[in-house]
Symmetry: C2
Subunit: 250 residues, 2 copies
DNA sequence: CGACATGTTGAGATGGATCAACACTTGTGG
DNA sequence: CCACAAGTGTTGATCCATCTCAACATGTCG
């Protein structure tokens, strides 16, 4: 059964539609050739499936080519915290290489297409293409920055501020990737995900989200999100956005 | 005025007492020589001083040689979230290289000794010593893992669990570095820091900490911490520790 | 049709925040 | 040497943001 909406990444990295996007740093032909040889294949992950299991991490490294996913950790009684959301171009599984044990799980939110790399080829990559090693560090640092921001949100913002932050931040990331059309974007996250990402209960998330919507700050229906009053959302979230550099992509 | 207790890092990296510690991955003589040439000097940061300002990040990269520090972010109304604590061997300022703007501040908790590296030599390091580039990615991933854990704590653990987690985690890290003697370690963190790290109010932190102490789980006085009932703390925090590999150090 | 996931809403309970004192220590300047 | 300010820890009273529990609505899918 073909997965609706998502197509697997092309055989040749030179044909990669994602890499051509405005958001990404260009690579040299040599780098591209190496990436293509390094890549061990592609994969499709249906919505809801585990890309990396929290208990039994596989040894693979992925680049998310299309679709959404999220990283999470759980406590043994089931409480779950979503660490960050993953969008096309994000790398998956890099931490596994360095962690002392299983550290987190990754789950697909939508049907997702992935480029697969063997984890044990990582050192080879650093050795042969230091510039790509540099890019990997960049990606790691960038993701850490994202978690930092989420920790600030969860630790110090109240429920309204948290929601505003989440909406703005995801909108901004999607926009950068060209996923926003006519001021509206596909938003494949349900309220349970939002609650788990923000450290709130499901019920309170619902009520707060509803209040924001009734104030006319945003609209969220049919899986589509639009920000009706971005200024106000920025003010509430205490969020200041900066011009974003092109980011590397493996 | 000499800073009590902390000595600056030695002139020659070969004489580095820290690197000789059990916790760190050995480096080759060539790597060591490069690190020494890469290093632009050493510095002392008095307790409470900014190592990296949240507003005006400097372009430097540091390794914390002795003493404690912490990374933090603040909201514009002053609410502060501590992202993680830094102990000897940790790297400081790596994210700055990749962030689009100022991302976080770093402050010394105790008098601290630092090795200083020029940030703009980073690419040179990757190019000439890919193995050190690999180590930097490792350090970045490791720190991200730490923030992940803190996000889980702040988002999903209650006050008691958070405190237990913090005590265990810091104790464990200190132990690894040989900073625990006779079951007791220097603990240079006040309750305001703890509150800011855990997303709690100062008052509630005090009351919860006090309760744990009265239950005989730990003792914290005179700036010294001992865990009197680690088993119980582990159970409360839902924390399982794993054997830790040696980690790299720049 | 029933089962299930998801969203919505109200009522009541509570963990943690806020406010307000006060104790103790340390350093400083008169 | 004392008086005082500043930083830190402690404790009680009260408040409220958020959680929990419990229904019910809606849509999808077999």
């Amino acid at each position: 059964m073909p997965l609706s909406g998502t197509s697997a990444c092309p055989r040749r990295c030179a044909d990669c539609r994602l890499r051509a996007a405005h958001a990404f740093k260009p690579v040299s032909p040599q780098e591209l050739a190496f990436i293509e040889s390094f890549r061990s294949g592609s994969a499709l992950a249906p919505a809801g499936s585990a890309i990396i299991s929290e208990q039994n991490p596989n040894g693979k490294l992925f680049t998310l080519y299309a679709g959404w996913a999220f990283r999470y950790k759980t406590l043994s009684d089931g409480r779950r915290q979503i660490l960050n959301f993953l969008l096309p171009g994000d790398i998956i599984g890099l931490q596994q290489e360095f962690a002392d044990g299983p550290s987190h799980g990754v789950e697909a939110l939508t049907d997702a297409a992935l480029c697969v790399f063997p984890r044990d080829g990582l050192w080879e990559l650093f050795r042969r293409f230091p510039s790509l090693g540099y890019d990997l560090t960049w990606l790691a640092a960038r993701e850490e920055g994202m978690v930092d921001e989420n920790l600030l949100t969860t630790g110090r913002r109240n429920a309204t501020e948290r929601l505003a932050m989440l909406l703005i931040h995801l909108y901004r990331r999607a926009e950068r990737l060209g996923l926003v059309q006519d001021g509206s974007m596909a938003f494949p996250i349900n309220q349970q995900h939002i609650a788990d990402a923000l450290g709130l209960s499901l019920v309170h998330t619902n009520k707060t989200l509803r209040r924001l919507q009734q104030l006319g700050l945003h609209e969220l229906k049919g899986g589509q999100l639009s920000l009706l009053n971005p200024k106000a959302l920025h003010r509430i979230a205490d969020y200041y956005d900066l011009p974003m550099r092109k980011v590397p992509m493996l």
